[in-house]
Amino acid sequence: MAKIIPRPQLSLLEQLYFVEVFKGMALTIKHAVRSLAKPETIPVLNYPEVQPELPAEHRSEHRLMKRADGTSRCVACYMCQTACPARCITIVAEESPDGDIEKRPATFDIDWLLCVFCGLCVEACPCDAIRMDTGKAILVEDSRDAFIANKDRLMDWSPADYPAEDIISQEAPGGLLNEQALAAMQGGMFSAGDVADVADKETC
């Protein structure tokens, strides 16, 4: 159903146009005087000196989460690469020396120049291995090669840069610690034995 918006009824004074022009000018002059008298009220973000405050949910550069031993949580399942609409993720898998985990990435490259920062890779990851919460949203380079991030660059982050009180931002919990995954398994098609089996060990 269409919404009917009544047209504003102009008074005679407004229809004359002359008074309204000076009202507009007065508003402009008011802002000009205020900017001169109180420069701190100018709503300019002085960018190179003042960095923007981005919300925590802002999708920025990726990072690869690490296990307790420092290796990548990625199991090279290609879910993110498949989900990526821009095809900016390139994974080459290799056999993992860990007995419980089949694969690990030999290379994990993200071309940030192709990336559209949609977050579908983060949604797709079953291991919570890739995240986009680094807060680095300003990517400017003078060559295309500089935008390609390899595995080392994606894993080169410090826990000190993330809030200490938010443990989830420091590490991606697997096994028993990952309550969300366990709850999903318990409510789903898995038997209690499966859940207990998974809960014992890190499968990601």
């Binding site: 709503p43 960018y47 190179p48 120049l113 920062f117 990517l139 003078d142 295309r144």
Partner: protein
């Protein structure tokens, strides 16, 4: 033949250095002054074809304020501009227009590819989209993002200014890119 081209032995080495572009006092000071002028009065030509151009509007407006960098005078004539901001998807049908506009701009000129589409084609991996405008024209600075934040566009302008500061007046862009 070779004796005629080399400088006579009577001119000292340090004196002959001053007449070359490399170490000459006058030439470097002139470079500094001209580069200072060029970098702080860029006249952008926004070649906006898609949503990144909307982000460029935000960059020009009061919160981010492109005029703090002396580049607020957006010209819609390539003859009057020296900074080409390519913001948006460039299709193969649009490519000759972009090339013509780049050719119409006077030297010296700089190019910024804003956003994923202009820089690399983005997710348009198809028959009609140019996979990055560097297939057509030389690009100085790439900005990633879909679209990039206004701060990223400001950052690209800062990088262009730094790049101008390193340039020599005697070298043209045609020589540099060829």
């Amino acid at each position: 033949m070779s004796d005629e081209t080399t400088a006579p032995a009577s001119i000292p080495e340090e004196l002959s250095q001053q007449f070359t572009n490399e170490g000459g006092f006058l030439a470097t000071k002139l470079d500094t002054v001209i580069n200072w002028g060029r970098s702080n009065s860029l006249w952008p030509f926004p070649f906006g074809t898609a949503c990144c151009a909307i982000e460029f509007m935000g960059t020009v407006s009061s919160v981010f304020d492109l005029s703090r960098f002396g580049a607020e005078l957006v010209r819609f004539s390539p003859r009057q501009a020296d900074l080409l901001l390519v913001a948006g998807t460039i299709t193969y049908k649009q490519a000759p227009i972009l090339k013509q506009i780049y050719d119409q701009m006077c030297e010296p000129k700089w190019v910024v590819a804003i956003g994923a589409c202009a820089s690399s084609g983005g997710f348009y991996d198809c028959y009609c989209t140019v996979p990055g405008i560097d297939h057509i024209i030389p690009v100085d600075v790439y900005v990633a993002g879909c679209p990039p934040r206004p701060e990223a566009i400001l950052e690209s302008l800062v990088q262009i200014q730094n790049k101008i500061g390193d340039e020599k007046v005697s070298t043209t862009h045609v020589e540099a890119s060829s």
